[in-house]
Symmetry: C2
Subunit: 147 residues, 2 copies
């Protein structure tokens, strides 16, 4: 079977409903697909070239960039293939969404610094449901009497 | 800012921990990334060219292909960008995984039949947790007395 045309793979990546984002070693957004446009509300033309901080809530930035720098230095992310990272993220309209994402470190050719890519799913609706279920569970569980 | 090299985008898609799969109009697997290898246990060389039935449990096949044919005929999937499809899937070792996936219909050039792509996340661990929480909730909720 002949190989699938590169154009089809690129169209898949560009049009996927999930966010697919690539950041360069300086932390600048270099790729931003249709799913990322949908989740975060920034068009690719607005997002590309900007620092990823545009979607990271301020109190999460230090932790994010510490992990980013460590991954770049080590040439590997501490997160494995089975790890989903769950964080809140900022949208263009000033809102907050809950996202889950997987990360992959892309080696540059000839040992040049690589890129970090992420596949991002908006899980805001599920998080709201989970919260509701936890509250029902708490309400249904008898509180132990305090002595 | 210069465009990101196509090679980097292709590497991102190939190496993503999430499954990225493209199926042709005949239902044959044409693209199968590293994430799909990991989730389903088939190497790309084993999966490409095979019918997608290889990962669809028998009792789900009719429904799957009805939706597939309808999407191809309509030139659009009935599932929107916000819809995640949740189904069980078969693995190479004979196991079952729970997956959630988004779909995108890729238009072929000049009205030729397109391809259907999916971004697939293995949610088996989360499903097990959800089941446990539901059972705790049931156990904690007083059963109404039957008359």
């Amino acid at each position: 079977m002949e190989d699938l045309a590169t154009d089809v793979v690129l169209a898949m990546t560009a049009q996927a409903p999930d966010g697919i984002v690539i950041v360069d070693p300086e932390g600048l957004i270099r790729y931003w697909n249709r799913g990322a446009e949908r989740i975060f509300g920034y068009a690719a033309a607005e997002a590309i070239g900007r620092n990823l901080d545009v979607i990271i809530p301020e109190k999460h930035r230090q932790r994010h960039w510490d992990g980013f720098v460590a991954a770049m230095a080590a040439g590997a992310s501490k997160y494995g293939d089975n790890d989903l990272l769950a964080v809140p993220a900022l949208t263009a309209s000033g809102g907050i969404v809950s996202i889950e994402f997987s990360v992959v470190l892309l080696s540059g050719p000839d040992g040049t610094p690589g890129y970090i890519g992420a596949v991002i799913r908006d899980v805001t609706a599920r998080r709201a449901q989970e919260k509701e279920i936890r509250q029902r569970l708490l309400a249904a569980t008898p509180t132990p009497a305090t002595p």
